[in-house]
Amino acid sequence: MIRKIKNFMLTYTRIQLIIFSFFSVPLIVLGVYTFIIIYQSSTKATLERRESLSKSVAKIVEQRFDHFVGLGIHYTSHATFQKLLREKKWEEALAALVRDQKPMDAGVTRMVLFDVDSTARADYPHISDFDNLKGKTFTDRDWYLGVSRNWEPYITEIYKRVTSPQINIVSVVIPVISQLPQEKDTVLGIVNIVITLDQFSEWSRSMDTGPESTLYFVDQKGQVAGHPQYSSDGDIVNFKSVLPVERLLRGQEGVVVYSDGTKRGDSVASFAKVGTYHWGVVIAQNARVAFGERNRQLWQLVIFFTLLIAVIGIVLFILNKLFFLVDKFRVQENLLLESIGDGVFVTDRNFQILLWNKAAAQITGLPARDAIGTYCGELFRFVDGITHRDKSRELQEAIRLGEVRHLTGKTIMVLRNGRRIPMGDSIAPIFTRGGDVSGAIVVFQDKTAEVNLTAAKDEFLSIAAHQLRTPLGVLRWRIEQLIKTGTKKDTRGVVGKLQDMHINTLSLIKLVNDLLDVSRINQHRIVNQSAVVDVRELVDRVLSEEHEEIGQNKLRVTVEVLKNTKTTVVVDPNLLVQILRNILCNAVDYNRPGGSIGVRLTKDGASLVIAIEDTGIGIPASFRPRIFEKFSRAPNAIKSGVPGSGLGMFVVQSYVKVIGGEIAIESQEGVGTKIVIAIPYGKNNTHHRG
């Protein structure tokens, strides 16, 4: 049983695993798919956002540059300024510009005026150091090369100011183009509007580019401005080997994820060009922060699916537990029903068999696998054993009325193969919780043995009664004869009739005695009261009862006791007398005239062996198996005309068994019979057998 449950559990775990996989595998696939989709789209969105942010910042920077350039062009196109330049009155010209245009109000901190050959001429506000520079040319300077290329405004790279303090600066270089028509495209001088790196830092600070992000500006050479980590008046820092800057210098825009080799981990850097000024903007943000939103979403997704799968797992586990419990009960119920010795089957409302226990299978010979799922009517029907009426209605009634029905009387289950099984049944409806009838349970027993026993008893009674009729009929007719004729006329005839009556009366008595013996044997009511018995004496006594017949048939009788044979045994004398009487009477009755009967007593171990041999008609070999059956008589015995009930040998065998002896028969038809009985000498005690 434990193994059964274990197997069941293993099977069930397997099933549960399959069900769990059925739900979880698609969920995992869906989860992974969603993960990838969210990862990709969110990453893309983040990168796009960073990229567009860098572009916006680049645009602002471009506007600022444009602003300075615009201011410069506006200032330098002033007629008074240009007139004074033409007159080479450099200091006056710059002073006039400052006076008239008020550039300081527009955020310009310093201006330097050069002539067209890059010779320094004037500055504002004036720095004493500048006096040393006055008259010097700067043709080799990048700013000059930049502006003189096409005589267009130019934003310089970052460079150290020549005058002290030598801070890092950027210049907006404006060529002063003559406004006079006759001087078309004539360059009157160059104005450098100085932007300190502080200003870039100020821009960088004023722009919000998100947490843990760094905004900086890159010039044509990859030098950095506005970077919060580098002081604006320290050494000029070059980032040209940093990936986004490298890209910018190659003229690209976009976004990269790269490691800057620091412990902060990856950075997401977006970079954009600042218009046509050859400057760039880089916004670097810690990748963890940049992808924070994405990672948060992914975590939520992972947690959601994990929880979902866990919930499914738990639900399945609980369901499994419940099912297991239900099934355990079912297994127990089935085991219970299987163990019942009576046949049990259960049907649903439609008479379809749901359960068919082992006993039911044994009784009917129908295995459960054939019966379950089949309709009752297809397997068997119930009929009344006496009226042969169909009783299958009882099953329908039990279900229809919800009543217990007893199939009383002789109900017979008739199987499809025609086999008829007498049975005792009860049919009980099965109720649901709601009180409806869901089917019926039928309990039945195989009454074949009982019915056979009853039949055997009936047959016994019938045979016995018929046998009793024979002597009774004779007695009746003889008495009627005597009443009619009287005794006067024919004395010899009367004596003959009385003798006949006497013989029949004896026969009747013997028959009645045999019947009583059989009855006692059947009821196990034989009294076995032991006493010390001399078998030799007993044999002689029985033989003396038969002396008349022995004499009539001229039989030669010998009784022989072998040397050293103790003839006394402890046995019930009445039972032994009955045994000897039956055997010796047969030896006499069925003997041939002039035949012989030999009785021999010998000792064999702890038993006394009585061998009785006759020269009678013998027992046909074909009858030997039936010799101890009740009412059985061999054909040659019936033919011989010797009256007999066929009970004698049954009684002999039963009594021999009771006294603990053994019996053996050897016989040849027409030659004779030898019956050997071994009786244990036994102890000298007395007991009853009941």
Binding site: H466, R469, G473, V474, W477, Q481, I638, K639, G641
Partner: protein, 116 residues
Amino acid sequence: MAKTILIIEDNLSYQSILKEALEGEHWQVAVAGNGREALNIVKEGKPDLIILDLLMPEMDGITFYYQLKKILKKHIPILILTNVSDTAAYGKDIKDVLIKSDVSIDDVVARVNSLL
């Protein structure tokens, strides 16, 4: 000439009583111990009535009844006289049945007389 009755009966007592009773009525009586003996007697000379027992050694009454029907064209009345009261033991053609212990010997004689 007196009519002949064949008694087929294995029990010597019954044989004796029937023989005596019927001879007392001046019928001629023949006796057979079983069906086979009876068939031999019937072949030699046909009796006018047969009294037949059912349970007998060698050949029982029912077997004799059907054997007789085969060999005999002429109808002979047959009175079954038996102790077997189970009607199932009789053939379906057998109708005239007396149960020995249930009738007096006079009834038997009266029935025989009525049949002859």
